[in-house]
Symmetry: C2
Subunit: 297 residues, 2 copies
């Protein structure tokens, strides 16, 4: 199912990201050590690392140094992981399972989970700000700004607020699309953008990459809704069918599973078409797009 290029790409980035978190987060020998242990528990050895793979794939297309791409990948993954930690809290989605293991507030406690999420967020900006990520301060500050804007109230956090409102409001397709573009799409868009920033691709040269990211982001969410609707909890490693229980509209509830699947495929075709100006160097991005509709978890 997964093509070889993608399988290798995923394996390599998973290994590199784990190693980088391990190296960048040594546990201090005092009472703050528990915080770093919690950050390590949440970041090392879990997740598909799609966002770091996007950063690395775009960076590699343009010949960027791998170590720089991995550092930017660590930063965006830190933001993604912190959002999952906080999303899993009892006052949010109240989930007990993530990547097949107990969520952070279950394995540690709620206060530590709040703090570890908070600390992972600024850790992301600390990593980006370090000259090891890029010797050029302009590149570093562009990475910071791109990640900050995508994470905040006009991006991921804004989408999560809309997601909470979806429990009591009855959103139409346009509003659900906007919600998902913020909640998931903004960070996926930031991932390709960060790869391009590392490569010093000027803003106008990034447009087709952003369009690619927008399409795969939406397709990703539609497939998430399909997997939530049809999937197997053991395979997913997390609780499913929570949206339906909470009365939230999703792409599946609004379109039905067949049209939703069709829509996801169409978006992936469109995403791939945005890469037409690239040759074989964009094959990993193409394979990644296909994987998004074909994945089973």
């Amino acid at each position: 199912m997964v093509n070889i290029l993608l399988a290798e790409g995923l394996k390599a980035i998973q290994s590199d990201i784990d190693a980088a978190f391990d190296a960048l987060l040594p546990v201090p020998q005092d009472a703050s050590g528990r915080l770093v242990e919690a950050m390590r528990y949440a970041t090392i050895g879990g997740g598909k690392r799609l966002r770091p793979l996007l950063v690395a794939a775009v960076a590699q297309m343009h010949g960027v140094d791998r170590a720089a791409a991995v550092r930017a990948g660590v930063a965006i993954e830190s933001v993604h992981v912190y959002s999952l930690i906080h999303d899993d809290l009892p006052c949010m989605d109240d989930d007990a399972l993530r990547h097949g293991k107990p969520t952070l507030h279950i394995a540690f406690d709620e206060a530590t989970a709040v703090l570890a999420g908070d600390a992972l967020q600024c850790f992301a900006f600390e990593v980006l700000g370090d000259p090891a990520t890029s010797g050029d301060p302009f590149v570093r500050i562009e990475l910071v700004t791109t990640l900050a804007v995508a994470s905040g109230h006009h991006g991921m956090a804004g989408g999560q607020m809309m997601d909470i409102a979806a429990e009591t409001a009855s959103f139409d397709l346009q509003t659900v699309t906007r919600l998902q573009q913020l909640k998931t799409g903004a960070l996926l868009g930031a991932a390709v953008e960060m790869g391009a920033i590392l490569a010093r691709v000027p803003v106008e040269g990034r447009r087709h990459l952003r369009a690619y990211a927008r399409d795969i982001g939406l397709a990703f969410q539609i497939v998430d809704d399909l997997l939530d609707h049809e999937g197997d909890e053991a395979a997913a490693g997390k609780a499913l069918r929570k949206d339906a229980e909470q009365g939230k509209e999703t792409f599946v509830s609004l379109l039905g599973p067949e049209r939703a699947r069709e829509q996801a495929r169409m978006l992936i075709d469109q995403a791939v078409s945005h890469l037409a100006s690239h040759g074989a160097e964009a094959d990993l991005l193409r394979a990644l797009a296909r994987f998004i509709v074909e994945r089973d978890r």
Copy 2:
């Protein structure tokens, strides 16, 4: 009690910071609007704005443009406020009152409070990354790195983790000092450092300012403990004597109120002595140091 220079400085920064948050956080007309309303509730019209005043005082000493100092002040205050929002949550300190009004999770709800804290943290880095803060990307990225390191697991968040551990451990004076240097001192140190970064003061020229910040930070916390021990809840606008209830060691429990007060005064004298190389342009910093031991809330 408060000298005129300081009274004017506080009034001006409070007004400038409120105006800046108001301008930088317009409420969007969709379901994410509630998030921005929560961010505004927590940031506009509350708090002494000590951290922004420190940024502005150091910046002003070196002739930095006021608007730049206010933007850096907004960033550091965003981090401070997000930490208060999360600290007030039921799973942390469970406080219902802050600056004399209901805490965010009471006025809104817990999920919104978690999200608003998260969004305020990346808002801080978004503000610093914007060229409006400084035209020089090196200045902007130094501001980002300084704030990120001071906020994270080797700074504020690490101190908060130690603070949670203090409920069950019995810390000695050295450990309580280290805890407070992380929890409060790191961000106060970042404030003076950010003022100096805006002024392009080289690292070696910032040492005496950091020493000043370290001393006032510790004195600030000792006085906080004294006010917590002796203060009036109505005047403080928040619940008091929680440390004693939770069995946490504080400077007051370890030193007794008299020695604690003496220690705070000594630290302030020492803080002022670090400014000996400056003339009248450092009078605001001197007045601020005196205010820290003389304040009644």
